[in-house]
C-alpha cells in the first residue's frame, strides 16, 4: 500500500438513501485512503450497491456528504460540484467497473474506440497516439492487439470485463469503483480477472471500492472490509480480522456459510 498523502482521498459521512418508504442505506460513514482497497460485502438487498452509487455520485443521497481530495489537493464536496465537473471526475480521476459490461462499455463502438473515448475526454486529439495507447492497454489486459477494431458485443464475458478495466485505467484514475466485477463469470475466467485487478491495484497504487458478495474475492483483493445488512454497516475492520475473527452474528453466519473447495 503506497501512501502519498496522510489525508484520506474520500470521506463519506452519514450517507443515507431512501427510495420512497424503502431504505437503501442508512448513516454510512467511510474513509478511503490512496492505495487502499475496501470491499463492501453483504447479501442481495443489503444496500451495498446503493452505497457504491452514492460514493460515486451516481445516486443523490437523502442525507449525508462525500468529500474528495482532487488532484490539485483541494477537498471538494462532491454533491456541490456542477454536473460537468462531476462527469469529468468520473471520466478521468475515477473508474467504474460494472458487473454488466453493457453499462460500462458502448457495445456498438470498437474496443479501441471504447478505450480511446476516455483519452479524448481528457484532451487527447492525435489519432495515432490514441490508438497506440489503446493498443498498449488492451495488451496489458490480455486482449490481442488484432481485436482492437472489433466491437465488445463479439467478446466473451471475461474479455468484456477486461476491456472495461482497460477503458478505466487509460486515464490513470486514483480511485476505481467496482460492482461485482467477477459476477457471472466462469471460475477460470474469474481467476484471470482477479489476478489482473490485483496487479493493477498494486502497480498503480489505486484506491478501490469493490462491492462483492464473494468473501473469497474480498479476501484476495481488499485491505479492509465493510459488512452491510439491511442498509447499515454492521461490522468493519481489517479484511483478515473480519474474516478470521468475525464479531457480529450476521458476519459469523456469512463466514460460516463459505463453501470450501
Amino acid at each position: 500500500m503506497s501512501v502519498q498523502d496522510d489525508r484520506p482521498l474520500l470521506v463519506a459521512e452519514g450517507l443515507t438513501k431512501h427510495y420512497g418508504p424503502h431504505l437503501g442505506c442508512a448513516d454510512v460513514s467511510l474513509d478511503i485512503h490512496e492505495g487502499e482497497v475496501v470491499a463492501v460485502v453483504g447479501e442481495s438487498g443489503s444496500g451495498k450497491s446503493t452505497l457504491l452509487g452514492l460514493l460515486s455520485t451516481q445516486l443523490l443521497p437523502s442525507a449525508g456528504s462525500v468529500r474528495y481530495r482532487m488532484r490539485d489537493g483541494e477537498e471538494r464536496d462532491l454533491f456541490a460540484l456542477g454536473e460537468a465537473e462531476r462527469r469529468f471526475l468520473l471520466r478521468t480521476d475515477w473508474g467504474f467497473v460494472h458487473q454488466d459490461a453493457r453499462l460500462g462499455l458502448r457495445m456498438g463502438v470498437s474496443a479501441g474506440g471504447n478505450v480511446g473515448e476516455r483519452l479524448m475526454a481528457t484532451g487527447w486529439r492525435h489519432y495515432g497516439r490514441i490508438r497506440a495507447e489503446a493498443e498498449q492497454w488492451l495488451e496489458r489486459v490480455e486482449i490481442a492487439r488484432d481485436r482492437i477494431d472489433d466491437r465488445p458485443d463479439t467478446f466473451s464475458g471475461g474479455m468484456r470485463q477486461r476491456l472495461q478495466i482497460a477503458k478505466n485505467m487509460v486515464t490513470r484514475p486514483r480511485l476505481i469503483f467496482m460492482d461485482e466485477p467477477t459476477g457471472g463469470l466462469d471460475v477460470s475466467v474469474q481467476a484471470r480477472l482477479l489476478d489482473l485487478i490485483r496487479s493493477f491495484v498494486g502497480d498503480y497504487g489505486l484506491a478501490a471500492v469493490i462491492v462483492t458478495h464473494d468473501l473469497a474475492v474480498a479476501r484476495l483483493l481488499s485491505h479492509r472490509i465493510v459488512v452491510m445488512r439491511h442498509g447499515r454497516v454492521i461490522e468493519t475492520g481489517l479484511t483478515d480480522q473480519v474474516l478470521d475473527d468475525p464479531r457480529e452474528p450476521y458476519t459469523q453466519l456469512l463466514v460460516a456459510s463459505i463453501l470450501q473447495a
Partner: protein, 238 residues
C-alpha cells in the same frame, strides 16, 4: 534490528470467542497473557493443543482481536499497540515489522510459486531481480524442485505448499517473525533447513515467536519456552 532490545510486549491480554451461531456461547481462550520477546531470541509457546497458542500469535499479527490488554510491537517509529491500532496502522506495522508464517498456504489463483515468494521479498523494498534471486535461493534451500517454481501451488502436496509458505515468510526479512507450526508436515532434511533459517534470523537480531509441536525442532531453536497453560482463563480466575 538489534540484539537484546525488547520487540514484543504483551500485558493482560484476554481473548474470548462469542459464538453467535451457538446461541451466543462464550468460549474463553486466554486471559492475562503477559510476556516479552527480545531481538535475537526465539521464544516458543508451549502447551497442549487448544490452549490458545495460535490465538496469541494471531492477536499479535492482528487478524484476531484482543478483548483486553496491550500488545505492543516495537515498530520503526516506536511502540504500537496492535490491539488498539486502526487498520491502516496495523497494515503499516505488518509491512515494516511483523512477518508471519501461517500453518497453511493461501494460494493465489494463477500465480506461480516463485512469484509468490518473490512478491513477498518485494514488500520490503527489494527490486524485482533481487526479489527473484532471493526467492530462488530459498526454494532451493527448502528443496522445492525447480520444475515446480513456475506452477501455481494449488495442486502441490501439503508438504510442498508448506515449504512455499515458509519461503514466503522468510523472503521478507522483518524485525519480528511469528511462526505457527512451520515444520508440521516436513521431512527431516527440510526441518533442518527451517532450523537453519530460524538461526540465521536470530543472528540477524530478529525477535522470533513460534509454535513447534516437533520436540526435536523446538529443542534446537528455543531460547525459552512459555507454558501457555498458565494463561488459561480458569487459572487466572482463581
Amino acid at each position: 534490528m538489534s540484539l537484546d532490545r525488547e520487540m514484543i510486549r504483551l500485558d493482560a491480554v484476554t481473548k474470548t470467542f462469542v459464538m453467535h451461531l451457538r446461541g451466543g456461547a462464550r468460549l474463553p481462550v486466554v486471559s492475562n497473557v503477559a510476556f516479552a520477546v527480545r531481538g535475537g531470541e526465539c521464544v516458543v509457546l508451549g502447551g497442549p493443543s487448544g490452549t490458545g497458542k495460535s490465538s496469541i500469535l494471531k492477536m499479535l499479527y492482528g487478524n484476531y482481536r484482543a478483548d483486553g490488554g496491550r500488545i505492543d510491537n516495537n515498530g520503526p517509529t516506536g511502540w504500537v499497540d496492535i490491539a488498539r491500532a486502526v487498520p491502516r496502522a496495523v497494515l503499516t506495522l505488518r509491512q515494516s515489522t511483523i512477518g508471519y508464517v501461517s500453518q497453511f498456504l493461501r494460494v493465489i489463483p494463477r500465480i506461480g510459486a516463485l512469484d509468490i515468494v518473490a512478491s513477498s521479498a518485494r514488500e520490503i523494498g527489494l527490486d524485482e531481480p533481487a526479489a527473484r534471486a532471493k526467492a530462488a535461493s530459498l526454494l532451493e534451500r527448502l528443496n522445492v524442485p525447480e520444475r515446480l517454481w513456475h506452477l501455481p501451488p494449488a495442486t502441490f502436496s501439503g508438504g510442498e505448499q508448506q515449504r512455499i509458505n515458509i519461503a514466503r515468510g522468510f523472503a521478507a526479512e522483518r524485525p519480528i517473525l511469528l511462526l505457527d507450526e512451520p515444520t508440521a508436515s516436513l521431512d527431516g532434511a527440510n526441518r533442518a533447513a527451517v532450523v537453519e533459517l530460524i538461526e540465521a534470523r536470530k543472528r540477524a537480531g530478529a525477535a522470533l515467536l513460534g509454535i513447534f509441536h516437533d520436540e526435536d525442532v523446538r529443542d534446537r531453536v528455543a531460547d525459552r519456552v512459555i507454558d501457555v497453560t498458565k494463561f488459561a482463563p480458569e487459572a487466572s480466575a482463581r
